[in-house]
Symmetry: C2
Subunit: 203 residues, 2 copies
DNA sequence: CCTACCGATCGGTAGG
DNA sequence: CCTACCGATCGGTAGG
C-alpha cells in the first residue's frame, strides 16, 4: 500500500492490528513495531492510542453514511426493493474497499470512551434506521413479506458486517460477485428477491 | 442466577465480562471483583485466565454441535428446507439460552493459544459445513435458488451469530418469536421460504 | 481465600 | 524519531 503520510501509515498498521487482535489486544508498541520505530516515537504523530481508534472509526462511519447517501439518490421512495438493493450494495462496497477499517468500525467502537462512544452509537442507530424504514415500507406496501422489521434489519446488517470475518481481497469471489450475492440474499430474506431478480438490479 | 459451584460462578462472571469488554479487555482482577474476592484468590479455582476462556468456548462449541445433532435427527436427508429450518432454530436456541457464553464462543475464541485455537477452528469449520451441505443440496434439487453456497452459508451464520449483539432476554421478542423470525429470514435468503412457510415449520 | 510479592508490560512524558 | 524513564497494572506464585 502506498502511504501518503506517516499518519496514514500509522492508521493502516493500527487498523490491521486492531482487526486481528482487537483494540485492547494491541499495544502501542505493537503498532510501532509494524512501522519499525520505537513505541514512544509514535507520540510524535498521535496524542493517544484512543485517538487513533477514534480517527479510524469516525472516518469509516462517514464513509458508510456517504455511500448510503450516494446510493439512494434518485431512487424512487416507493421502490423498497430497489432501495434495499442499493443500500446493501453500498454497504458491501465500503466493507470490501477496506476490510480492516470496516472491521474496526464494526467491532471496536465499543472501546471508545463514553462521549465518543455514544456519538458513534447514535450514528450507527441512524444508519440502521435507514435500512429499517426501507424494510418497514416494503412490508407496508406488500413488496416484502410480513417480516418483523427490527429483526430483519438486525439479521441483514449483521450478515453484511460478518463479511469482514471471511472476505479476502484475493479470494475466489470478486467484489462485484459478493455484492450481487449479498444483495440477492438480503432481498430474499425479506421476500423481495423475486421482484428484484426479475427486474435486474439497476444502479 | 443460582450457582452450583464456585467454578461456575467464575465462568458466569468471566462470560459476562468477556462478552462486554472482550478477553484482552478483561483482567483477572475484574473477574475477581465481580465475585468480591481478591485477584490472586481466583487461582485457587483456575490455573490461568486462558483456561477459563477455553472452558467457556469448549463447552459452548459442544452445545452448538449437540443442538445441531438433535435437531436433524429424523429429518429426511432430501428435505433441504426442513433441515435448514431446524439447524437455524437450533442455533438460535443455543444463542438465546446463554447469550454471553455464545458471544464469547463466537468472538473471543481467537484469543486462545495456537493448539486450542486450531482445535476450535476445525470444529467451527465442521459446523459451518453442515449448513453449507444442506444449502448445496437445496440448490442442487432446486428447492433453493441458485445461490453461492459458501456466500449464503457465511451470510446466514454471521446473521445468526449477530443475535448476540442485540438480543435481550427481557426484550420485546420472545425466544420463539426470534426463532420463527430468523428461520423465515434464513430460508428466505436462499429462496426456500415459500415452501417452508406453506408447509409450516414442524420440529 | 488472604497478604505480600514477582517480573513484564502497559500507555504515556521529558528532553533532546 | 531516539533514549531514558514514569506510575499503574498485568497474569501469576509463595506461603499461609
Amino acid at each position: 500500500m502506498v502511504e501518503t503520510t506517516r499518519r496514514q501509515a500509522i492508521e493502516d498498521a493500527a487498523s490491521s492490528l486492531f482487526h486481528e487482535h482487537g483494540y485492547s489486544g494491541t499495544s502501542v508498541r505493537d503498532i510501532a513495531r509494524a512501522l519499525d520505530i520505537q513505541g514512544a516515537s509514535l507520540y510524535a504523530h498521535v496524542t493517544s492510542k484512543e485517538e487513533v481508534l477514534w480517527s479510524i472509526v469516525e472516518r469509516t462511519a462517514t464513509r458508510f453514511e456517504a455511500a448510503a447517501d450516494a446510493a439512494t439518490v434518485g431512487i424512487d421512495d416507493g421502490d423498497a426493493a430497489g432501495r434495499l438493493d442499493v443500500l446493501v450494495r453500498a454497504h458491501v462496497g465500503v466493507v470490501i474497499e477496506d476490510v480492516e477499517r470496516a472491521s474496526v468500525f464494526v467491532y471496536e467502537w465499543r472501546s471508545l470512551a463514553s462521549s465518543k462512544r455514544s456519538s458513534i452509537s447514535r450514528r450507527r442507530d441512524a444508519y440502521e434506521a435507514r435500512f429499517r424504514s426501507v424494510i418497514e415500507q416494503g412490508v407496508a406496501s406488500s413488496t416484502f413479506d410480513a417480516v418483523d422489521p427490527i429483526a430483519a434489519t438486525a439479521f441483514i446488517l449483521t450478515a453484511l458486517n460478518g463479511l469482514v470475518a471471511w472476505y479476502r481481497p484475493n479470494g475466489r469471489l470478486q467484489p462485484a460477485d459478493v455484492a450481487d450475492a449479498y444483495a440477492g440474499l438480503a432481498l430474499g430474506a425479506v421476500g423481495g428477491a423475486a421482484t428484484a431478480r426479475h427486474e435486474g438490479t439497476p444502479r
